[in-house]
């Protein structure tokens, strides 16, 4: 059983449910207060692909609406990114776009994934295909997730890992 470690950063605007999205699916040692203090919380997610176990060291960065406040140092060395947007707030998608630009400028083009969270709130859903395409994030693999139900989260991780192993 080979073990592969990868650093993955999670980026998104404030209150998109980034942390609660993954809380159930990851192993945590450090509490959430680290996000408020040093701006990042480290979790681990183990994903099995065939014979290989991939250990994702998830750097859950504090949600930022203002791009200047993102700590670029935390992005260094990342092999992949998970962007999280709130399906009921289209402006969070814009934030993701900006974050993505910064990330790619810092790290380069690495496998990424977009979680559209709060899929359980069907009636408030504001992001349809056209909106996503218009935001310029069309080529990014997108998954509709719900932090409340946990819907599609594992699928999302699996997809990211497959992309990571390929690259």
């Amino acid at each position: 059983m080979a073990l592969v470690q990868k650093k993955v950063c999670m980026l998104g605007a404030t209150a998109v449910g980034k942390t609660s999205l993954v809380r159930r699916f990851v192993e945590s040692v450090f509490s959430e207060k680290y996000q408020a203090t040093i701006g990042v919380k480290i979790d681990r997610k183990l994903v099995e692909v065939g014979d290989t176990t991939v250990s994702l060291l998830l750097w859950d960065l504090q949600g930022e609406d203002e791009i200047e406040r993102v700590r670029l140092s935390y992005l260094r060395g990342a092999s992949g990114f998970i962007y999280v947007a709130d399906g009921t707030r289209p402006e969070t998608l814009d934030t993701v776009r900006t974050l993505r630009a910064v990330a790619e400028a810092t790290v380069g083009d690495v496998p990424s994934l977009l979680f559209l969270n709060k899929s359980d709130l069907a009636e408030g859903w504001a992001l349809d295909e056209s909106a996503i395409a218009a935001s310029g994030l069309g080529e990014l693999p997108t998954i509709r997730t719900s932090a409340r139900t946990g819907d599609q989260v594992e699928v999302g991780f699996q997809r990211l890992v497959q992309q990571l192993l390929v690259s």
């Binding site: 040692v29 450090f30 480290i42 681990r44 060291l57 060395g77």
Partner: protein, 577 residues
């Protein structure tokens, strides 16, 4: 000549010549040109084909080839690895002795050293534990152990060391991912990969917050008695969590470790960033940085060990020594029993704290219980079962014979083999009883009485002896005794009568000879007459006093010795009838 041929004729013509039969000349030419080479080729082929030559060649180059290859890289070692394993297996299967002989010089010292190390570690840990068990500090540490949930040993260890590197992280610098991780024995590490990432995040945070150059990383984190030191290299950094007060030599060791790591694994460190697959760090590189140093062991700790040992020994002695002494007394008692006449020891042992004995005892033997008391054994701890038996020892048989036959004081009994021998003097009636009863005594198969004198005979003889002292004197030339002999004669007669009566009752015949003698004065004929006459005279006197005449005989002294006597003496013969 052939060269000329080639130069002068144009090429096509030469070809035609060849096809027409100039082939022979071509062949000649070719042979001339290439024969030496052909010969050499054939020789080479022969050599290549011949197996002995091949072996020779390989044998010649093999050592150097091996040396060269093994200096270049480790492929040869890898290739030989399985082969060496098989070779050893085959050797052992065939005959293990050569391998045993070869390894033996190494195994002995290695095993001894391992044992010595293990023992000294054990002693050291006992020492340390003792030292801390019976001290106030030890109690405080016990409380701390309970409070913090660590084991007492861990607390002791952490407290008795000056410093100790507890954990070592090898972290990829860029991504913060953990490449390798080591812990000191007894230390539990909590999610080291996440800790490594968090440490990297902290470094990033500190760098961002305090306007430090981009190349700087965290150097150290200090928390109470825990210090985390970080040494950075270009590709990876080494973080050590140290408990206690580490000296700068530890940082130096860490720096050297980082250098050694980059020297050995620079490429792999770089690849790790892309692949995320950890590589195995070469043995010994990281271990160099796991250092610790203990407090100098104070001398006084020894006395606790000694005290404990003394207490243990004393208590062991307290219990063991009385037991040993008792056992020895018992052994002594058993020896005594084995030697004791009339006692046969069967089994002897110890059961449940009591001594158990069985055996045989002749009723005439001494009481084993008394012997036990004499040997110092508490009789209540001895369970003895004695079965009776009859010992046929001579002294016991004699005692039994004595008890049965009741000999008189003048009679002695002894055993000669199976024969009871009675010696001394005993009455005829006792003799008869002895003959009747002797064989009833166990151990007596025969009775010998030849040495036993009849008491009656003995008494008679004694009486006769005293009578033989009596003599009567005669004047010269006379057969009449000197004056005043009549009372003596009468007394003698009385005694003789008593003698004869006793003899008769003892069934013994007595003959009394009166021997008359004369001195040398006068002629032989006269003296002969005198002798006879004197004896007759006394005889007549005795018979007149009542002695039976047929038992008294008057004779002459025929001995040629002293002729001075003018006497009549007695000689009494006693015979069994």
């Amino acid at each position: 000549m052939d060269d000329e041929l080639v130069r002068e004729r144009p090429a096509p013509v030469a070809d035609r010549e060849v096809s027409r039969g100039g082939g022979d000349r071509w062949q000649e030419l070719r042979d001339l040109l290439v024969t030496p080479e052909q010969d050499r080729l054939r020789a080479i082929e022969r050599r290549l084909a011949s197996p002995e030559v091949n072996v020779e060649e390989v044998a010649r180059v093999l050592p150097e080839a091996i040396t060269r290859r093994s200096a270049a890289d480790g492929t040869l070692g890898l290739a030989l690895g399985p082969v060496v394993g098989e070779a050893i297996s085959a050797s052992v299967r065939r005959d293990p002795q050569p391998l045993i002989d070869a390894i033996f010089p190494v195994m002995g010292p290695a095993i001894r050293r391992a044992i010595a190390n293990a023992l000294s570690e054990l002693v050291q840990s006992i020492n340390t534990t003792l030292e801390h068990t019976v001290s106030m500090r030890g109690l405080a540490w016990r409380i701390e152990a309970m409070r913090t949930g660590r084991s007492f040993g861990e607390v002791v260890l952490s407290r008795s060391l000056l410093y100790r590197v507890e954990q070592l992280f090898l972290i990829h610098r860029e991504s913060g991912l953990l490449i390798d991780h080591r812990t000191a024995p007894g230390v539990e590490a909590l999610a080291p990969d996440m800790v490594a990432s968090m440490m990297t995040a902290l470094g990033d945070f500190a760098r961002d917050s305090f306007h430090v150059g981009q190349q700087q990383g965290l150097d150290s984190i200090a928390l109470g008695d825990l210090t985390v030191w970080v040494e950075s290299g270009p590709g990876a950094l080494l973080a050590a969590a140290i408990r206690g007060q580490p000296p700068l030599s530890v940082r130096l060791a860490m720096a050297q470790t980082v250098e050694a790591l980059h020297l050995a694994h620079a490429g792999e460190i770089e690849r790790f960033g892309a692949t995320g697959v950890a590589f195995a760090v070469r043995d010994g590189i990281l271990e160099r940085a796991i250092v610790s140093q203990a407090h100098a062991a104070p001398r006084r700790s020894r006395w606790r060990t000694w005290l404990l040992a003394a207490v243990v020994l004393a208590s062991v002695g307290w219990c063991a020594v009385p037991r040993v002494l008792e056992q020895r007394r018992f052994e002594g008692y058993l020896d005594q029993l084995r030697r004791e006449p009339g006692v046969v020891l069967g089994s002897a042992g110890r059961e449940g704290g009591r001594f158990v004995l069985t055996g045989l005892r002749d009723p005439l033997a001494r009481d084993p219980g008394a012997l036990a008391a004499a040997a110092g054994l508490d009789s209540s701890t001895v369970d003895a079962k004695w079965e009776s038996y009859i010992a046929l020892r001579p002294d016991f048989v004699v005692r039994r014979a004595q008890a049965l036959l009741v000999p008189g004081p003048a009679t002695t009994l002894r055993m000669a083999g199976d024969t009871l021998v009675a010696e001394g003097v005993a009455s005829a009636s006792w003799r008869g009883e002895a003959q009747r009863l002797a064989l009833a005594v166990a151990g007596v198969t025969a009775l010998q009485l030849t040495g036993l004198a009849d008491s009656a005979t003995v008494a008679l003889r004694a009486a006769a002896d005293s009578l033989e002292v009596v003599s009567f004197d005669f004047p010269t030339g006379s057969t009449e005794p000197v004056a005043g002999q009549q009372p003596r004669v009468a007394a003698l007669a009385g005694r003789l009568r008593t003698l004869l009566t006793d003899a008769a009752s003892a069934n013994l015949a007595v003959r009394i000879d009166l021997i008359g003698s004369a001195d040398s004065v006068g002629s032989e004929a006269t003296n002969a007459v005198l002798r006879r006459g004197r004896a007759s005279r006394i005889r007549a006197a005795l018979v007149a006093s009542g002695v039976r005449p047929d038992l008294v005989v008057a004779t002459s002294d025929t001995s040629t010795s002293s002729r001075v006597l003018r006497q009549v003496r007695l000689r009494i013969a006693i015979d069994e009838r």
